[in-house]
Symmetry: C2
Subunit: 98 residues, 2 copies
Amino acid sequence: MDDALRAVADPTRRAIMELVRDDERSAGDIAARFPGMSRPAVSQHLRVLADAGLVAVRRDGNRRLYALRPAGLADAAGFIERMWSAQLGRLKEAVESE
Amino acid sequence: MDDALRAVADPTRRAIMELVRDDERSAGDIAARFPGMSRPAVSQHLRVLADAGLVAVRRDGNRRLYALRPAGLADAAGFIERMWSAQLGRLKEAVESE
DNA sequence: AGTCTGTGTAAGAAGTTGCTTACACAGCGT
DNA sequence: ACGCTGTGTAAGCAACTTCTTACACAGACT
């Protein structure tokens, strides 16, 4: 989970995740969406995402296709849900004490 | 959201959030749970969490009491949900194509 | 075989983070 | 008023991130 949350902390990486959310995309295609950044920079972000299990990579001839792997967010989602449930619990208390 | 996700990326800060999840705790109380770390270090983490809107601070005489503010995670939760929903969509497609 | 296209990796510069120690300062108790 | 307790802030340092440019290398096309 640590890796996933660290990976997601970066706005560029989140943007990449949104990009590959619905369709597989090649590295070059993704890089082209970040005109202000060099291609290697994007490649490095892709590596971080892949290492964190947030995207899946597939080779297609020359290219590498990236796709979202939402399962990688499971632990992160668990953390957030755990925090949320605290509020729900307190809300319940508040309601009951009225 | 940026701030919240960045704040949550740090494991110490996540541990602090778990600590104040159910009960308000004083800064000193929290710091005491991290024996390997100096008190100012914890204080700085608390500031990051407060700035990100993830904890609420309240003064009680001498002390400052921190409590979880789960609402601060709303945007982060939204992001994760958006990513998750992608998988649900694809799962649906897969099921339908069988 | 040679070259072009698509991509990753290496090395290094610049900024950011997360700590430490030393200090500042408000509120409580004597 | 004075000192003690609880806490935040300042300054500085080491480690880590995130870029950049230069290079490496695999696969497709002729």
